[in-house]
């Protein structure tokens, strides 16, 4: 099932990456965005857990949830497993809402974070909130499953506000989309 989703979104993504003529992409993109049902356009991270090929020193055995893992103002909050930026929850927003007067980025990447409280993996969307100069509070740098810029759909270095009217990066949120299949 997970494979089906990966495949589906990957196909969309590849189409997207190829439609790169100067006129092409953003036009098509904008059309999708103005629709009401906004399917994430970029591939799903296979998540840290899936990277079996890569040995992990921290150990894969589940830990007892820490207090910080339940605090949306803490970088250790479970949902923030691949945010590299300022937490919107410290900037007038919450873990899933943008601060007043900012605009959410329509493009983004989605990943998988493990919730230690219920033991489930959740698919989350990492959006940037845009249009104001950087918030500067609660810098958080976590990169579980994050990949370099050539795998754009899994990258948190690029400014996901890049396609906004005002591409100033202000802060980042992590929005639960649903439970990930094991």
């Amino acid at each position: 099932m997970q494979q089906r989703l990966d495949r589906l979104v990957e196909l969309a993504s590849r189409g997207l990456a190829r439609r790169t003529s100067r006129r092409g992409l953003l036009g098509a993109f904008g059309m999708v965005l103005t629709g009401t049902a906004l399917l994430p356009l970029l591939p799903v991270s296979r998540g840290a857990r899936a990277e079996a090929a890569e040995p992990a020193t921290a150990g894969a055995t589940p830990k007892a949830p820490s207090k910080a893992a339940s605090d949306p103002n803490a970088c250790e909050y479970w949902k923030y497993c691949a945010i590299d930026g300022f937490l919107c929850s410290c900037c007038g927003g919450t873990s899933s809402t943008c601060p007043p007067g900012t605009q959410p980025s329509p493009i983004t990447w989605i990943g998988t974070c493990h919730n230690p409280v219920d033991g489930r993996d959740y698919i989350v969307s990492y959006n940037d909130c845009c249009g104001k100069t950087s918030c500067g509070s609660c810098m958080c740098n976590r990169n579980e499953g994050e990949k370099p810029m050539y795998r754009l759909s899994l990258n948190n270095d690029v400014n996901w506000c890049m396609a906004n009217d005002n591409p100033n990066y202000h802060c980042s949120v992590s929005v639960i989309l649903g439970v990930a299949n094991k």
Partner: protein, 385 residues
């Protein structure tokens, strides 16, 4: 651009992924990305001005909730901005400077109007390139007339003047030459007072078209050489209160037809005088319900008037009685650089420090309620909503 991740999206995704987990508790619901709206204004909010001195072109204001101890949002205020909140609290007027290329290219001085209810920009008005640029952040470099109809903007090139702006018309009506006097302290409906280099007060009256109709200059009311007053004064129901370098309180009553200078009084006793001094940036706060004054004080000599306070001294503005000396852990947080009291009857006192920490205190008891160890880069002044 306003977007909301529709529930449809998450639902679709769920359908694709299926519902697998064998956990007993129900899974967390999908969330919807949206933009926060500001709640109704609270008297315990404060507008915190970060000069960003290391990156001066990126000045900003943080809106902070003194009860919930959290940021509510922020907006950009540019380079050496001068700020004023409108009498109806709806707008922050920002007189500032931008360039076409960050800190270079073509210079544009502009008056921007920030909508305080949405933290979005409502509009702007171009200014000539004269706006006063000072790191001493006074409440009266820009001000609104009491009825909100006019805005006064201090110019300094270094020739001193102020511009009169008709807010509704979004137009500069005139520029008034102040003969080297600075600040724009509004009184009555059409009067503006400025501090002059020889210790006098200039008061200009204008008509509805912004035309100067009268001006008067007071006798010197303080000694600039022996004990100057800080420009960072605080408004009161009847006028303004200034603090002097040596800790005297100068109250100016602007409610009559002519400015009335209340007899200055000393915050210090004879043994403290010259030993304990006010210092920092926003060196006096006034709380109208309790009638209290708050001043950050430190132990130091001449030339220390920008050193932050290790104590906050509290006075009854009417009786001049010292109510308290509240110690601050200056070694831990930095000396207190700026103070602001909320205007309600259960007031808070905000204290910003040299380290850009923010202390939230009970303004009646001095109890330290909350500390933000580092808020922004260089928190130099604060305003009430």
């Amino acid at each position: 651009m306003r977007l909301t991740w529709p529930g449809a999206c998450a639902a679709l995704l769920m359908a694709v992924t299926g519902t697998a987990p064998a956990d007993a508790t129900p899974p967390l619901a999908a969330e919807h990305l949206s933009v926060e709206q500001l709640p109704a204004r609270s008297p315990h909010w404060a507008y915190l001005f970060d000069f960003s001195f290391n990156n001066e072109t990126d000045g900003r204001v943080y809106l902070y909730d003194g009860d919930k101890h959290r940021m509510l949002g922020q907006f950009e205020v540019g380079y050496y901005p001068n700020l004023a909140i409108s009498p109806d609290h709806q707008t922050t007027a920002i007189a500032t400077t931008y360039w076409s290329r960050g800190g270079h290219g073509t210079r544009t001085d502009v008056l921007e109007f920030e909508d305080n209810t949405s933290l979005t920009l409502r509009g702007e008005m171009l200014l000539s390139a004269k706006k006063a640029q000072s790191g001493a952040v006074s409440n009266f470099n820009v001000s609104y007339s009491a009825d909100g109809r006019f805005l006064y903007v201090t110019n300094l090139t270094p020739a001193a003047s102020f511009s009169i702006i008709d807010v509704a018309k979004n137009a500069v009506l005139s520029e008034v030459d102040t003969d080297a006097c600075v600040l724009v302290v509004p009184s009555a409906q059409r009067r503006v007072s400025s501090l002059c280099e020889n210790g006098r007060l200039l008061t200009v009256t204008h008509d509805d078209n912004g035309k100067e109709t009268a001006r008067s200059v007071s006798k010197p009311f303080f000694n600039v050489d022996k004990d100057p007053i800080f420009v960072q004064s605080v408004g009161t129901p009847t006028g303004v209160i200034h603090v002097s370098f040596l800790g005297d309180i100068y109250e100016i009553d602007l409610s009559g037809t002519e400015p009335r200078f209340v007899e200055p009084w000393a915050m210090t006793g004879p043994k403290e005088r010259g030993q304990w001094r006010p210092g920092g940036q926003q060196v006096v706060a006034y709380q109208p319900h309790s009638g209290r004054l708050y001043v950050p004080m430190h132990h130091g000599g001449e030339g220390t008037h920008k050193v932050g306070g290790s104590q906050i001294w509290v006075f009854d503005a009417k009786t001049h009685r010292r109510i308290a000396r509240w110690p601050v852990d200056a070694a831990k947080y930095g000396g207190v650089f700026s103070v602001l009291a909320t205007q309600d009857d259960h007031p808070l006192l905000f204290a910003a420090t040299e380290n850009s920490a923010l202390l939230v205190m009970d303004a009646m008891t001095g109890k330290l309620l909350h500390v933000e160890a580092k808020l922004g880069q260089t928190l130099w002044s604060m305003m009430n909503p």
